[in-house]
Structures are given as C-alpha cells and as structure tokens.
Amino acid sequence: MNMKVKIAGVELNNPIIAASGTFGFGHEYGELYDLNEVGAISVKGLTKAPRAGNPPPRITETPGGVLNSVGLQNPGVDAFIEKEIPFLRQYSCKIIANMAGSTFEDYCEMAEKLSAVDVDMLEMNISCPNVKAGGAAFGTNPDTVFEITKTVRKYAKLPLIVKLSPNVSDITETAKAAEAGGADALSLINTLTGMAIDIKTKRPILANVIGGLSGPCVKPVALRMVHQVYNSVNLPIIGMGGISNGTDAVEFFLAGSAAVQVGTANFTDPYACVRIRDELKEYMKAENIANVSDLTGQLIVD
C-alpha cells in the first residue's frame, strides 16, 4: 500500500499533516509518539517578531466543536529557525512553516528568511481570525489574496501553500485569486469565526470575545468548500476541518484533497494523526486501493 503523496513537488511519507496551532513545534506530541509517523507538521503560526498572544480564556468547547482565540502566541520566525528546525529535522516528516503577518512586508520578509533555511514548504496564513491586523483581513478579499500571493511569491523560493478562510461568501473566488497569484497549493479551511456566551456572567466566554471554530461541527462546511475549490482550480488541495477519523479523511480525499490536516482531533485523542492514518489504510485495504493518491477527487456525483 502506497501512502506517499506529492504536493507541489514535495513528497510526504503519508498524507496526514498535523495542523498549525494544534501541534506546537512537535515537542509535546513527540513525547507521545515518533514524529516520523506523520507526513508533515505545519508548525505554530509564525510572526516576524515574538508574540505573547491573547489573554485567557482562550478556548471553550461548543457542541461538536472548539472555539479558540490564542492570538498567535509564538517565539517569532528567528527563534523558530534557530531552535525549532534542528529539532524537527531529526525526523523524516516534512516541515511546513506557517506564516502569519500583519502586513505584506511581514509575509515577504518571513518568506525570504524561511526560503533560505531547511524547511520544506511555506503555508501563508491569511485567514487567522484572532488577530487585529492582517490575518483574516487579507484572506477574505479576492483582490488582496491575489496581490499578497503574487507579492510573497517573489520572495518564496519554496512551494507556497495559501491557507484559505471559510469566512467568505464564495471560497472559489479567493481560491482562484491565490492560484492566479502563483500559489503552489491551497489549504482549507481555517477556522470559522464564532463566539460563546456565559449567561450567568452575561459575558463572552473567550477574553477576545470572538474566536475560531473548529472540530467535527465544521466538517460539512469544510468538505463542501474543498469540493467547490477542487472543481474551480488546478492546484493540489490540503483539506482540513473536523477530521477525526479515517472515514472523515477518506471523505476529504474523495472531495478533492491530496493530503489532509488534523487539528482539533489531536486534543481529543493525542494519537489522532497516527490513528487516522491507520484507519485510512484499513479503508484502502478493504477497498483494494493501492495508492492513497488514487482517492483524490474520486467523488461520484450523478
């Protein structure tokens, strides 16, 4: 059974990628299992300068989902390069550097720096709902998506993944804009904006008031968007949104994903990435599928 997939020229041992923001830089999950087991790790969103993040509470559960507003707490791109790459490079999993900027210049500078070091792909997060400047503001307007992708493209010497926001009226517009701007792949979806209220205190549960919704409850939305984008662009798609088991992963492949990211499920089951990969294999065995890549876009619509 061949679990290898190739995304924009980069070969992954298997199509399971740990989603940015749920997996840190791999240290913690690396204490539970061998990181060689995952295809890639999309690291915690990096910013030009270190960021302290939002005040707590930063997380709450909603039916079938999780709302978070971490606010990109991270040590900054330079500390990542110096301290985290050597750790991650001990493993065969690919490193996807997730970049989150406040300005075009931030993204360009990070793309240039990261292209000069030993990472495999860049993921441009233009859809973070939890920061005031940049983030989602770039990801929701097709013209801006085109401009920023085109601009960052010049500095990115590595395959450039653009991570799309679901908080738009038509995701195929931003997907096409990223493609026209020169993206090598797309990842979707980032979290849906949401909120939760405590009726006893009459206050929002998250200190940031609004957060990003993820987990099983967003899966139908994510799946629909992957399906639509697959039919609109000619780029490899990394699908994500509530994938919690092998069945979910298969659905995302059928809808058009070339690989998948697993995020919130890591909180439920710290071994989720490995388990989902194994469950995907079981499906392939039962269905007599030799290459996991053969599943991509095999949805039958009568």
């Binding site: 913690e28 204490e31 539970l32 930063r58 997380i59 971490v70 707490q73 909180f267 439920t268």
Partner: protein
Amino acid sequence: MSYEVYTCTLESQKEIAPNIVEAWVVNAELAAKAKPGQFLHIQCGDATSMPLRRPISICDVQGDRVCFIYEVKGRGTKSLQQQYGELDILGPVGNGFTVDNGKYKCPAVIGGGIGVYPMLFLTKQLKGAVAYIGFRNKDLVTLEDEFNKAADSVTLTTDDGSYGVAGFALEELKKDCETKQFDIIYACGPKGMLRAVKAFAEGAGIPCQLSLEERMGCGIGACLTCSCETTHEGTDKYKRVCRNGPVFWSEEVVL
C-alpha cells in the same frame, strides 16, 4: 514529562454532596506515577459532540486506585457522571506541589470549594500539615474525616456559618499566623481566594504555591490555550497551566 493515555476501569462514582461526585478509577501505572497537584485529562463521553477533555485534579491514590472529585457543572461533567465501565484518561498531567519534607517544617494547606479535593493527596504526603478547608455551606462539606486523619490539625469553615467556623478559610489561616510559623502555604480554590492567599503570603514573606485552573485544550502544552499571566515579559508573559503548572509559585503569576 512522559505523557500517556490510559484506559482505566471506572470502579465507582458517587454523589457525596449536591453535584459533587467522587470517582475512583483503577490503573496501577497511573496510580504509581501520580503526584499531589497533578491532574487527569479525561474524556467525558462522546468525543464527536465533546472534542475537549476535562482537566480534573487527583484527590487521592490508594494502591492502584486513583480518586478524583468533581463538580457537575456543564455538558462535560454531566456526561462524565453518566459514564461507567472504562474511562479514557491522559495523565497524570502537569507539575504538582513541591513536597519537600526535609525543607518545610510547618506547612499550611488551604483549599476552597472544589479546590479542597486536590489538597487531600498533598496533605497525606506532608508531615505536620495544618489544613484549612472552606466550603460554601454545610451541604457541601466533604472529606472532613479524611483531612482529620491526614493533617496535624484541620480548620473547617463555611461561608454562611452553617457548619464549622463561619467565614473564609484564609481568615483562619491568617489568625493562626500569630502563633504558628508557617514556612510554606499551598493553596487551591477559586481565583478570588487564590488572589487573597497570594497577597497575604507575599506580604507575610511566606513561600506560596498556587494550583491554577483554566479552560484547556490539548493538556500537554502544544495548543497554548490554558494560559495564565505571569510576571515575565515577551513570549513568556503567558505560561501554560497544563505544562508549566498547574501549580506555580505565587510570585510568578498575575491573578
């Protein structure tokens, strides 16, 4: 730190006070590793509808059995109360209390509300502990006998005076400071109480450890959601309750 997920036999669950449930699970490895102040990150039922585990402090360990006591409050704990058979538990998690019997000759232990429960395991491992446990009212008074056995002396308070001494546990601790030379204070309870304990301990120059609580995600330090504000600058401003804590020296945190 070595993390592991254990499938534990859920031996019993019993409501010991209104909406307060005492649960015992059996798992030799978990029991052997558990230290006072650490917690269990528990899957409380259907993971598809409840993707997050719930962090609950360890209350006691006896042989290969581990006890935790929780308040039935929201969807998660309501579902947990309905569980039987087995429980999926990540743990023991976090840095517990610093128990150094050689160093601390006169430790004070203070717990308020559900913050009383983790203090039992701690009290049992201390020599000469002076315990202060506070409850809202008589109905919620629990573990009185266990504390009486484990501590040198126990002062029990209720907010409304329906049992024990009327008022807050901290006020009793403060009074005793006139006669006792506490060399450490260990505390767990509501944020308001911890704030007051911190202020008092620091004012009196007594080292103090606080067990904090925060809404939590992964439980192992990866997701950066269960943050607490610290006195550090930069990216250390917020530390992870699950991994850097849940027990912190009072001087390190801003409450």
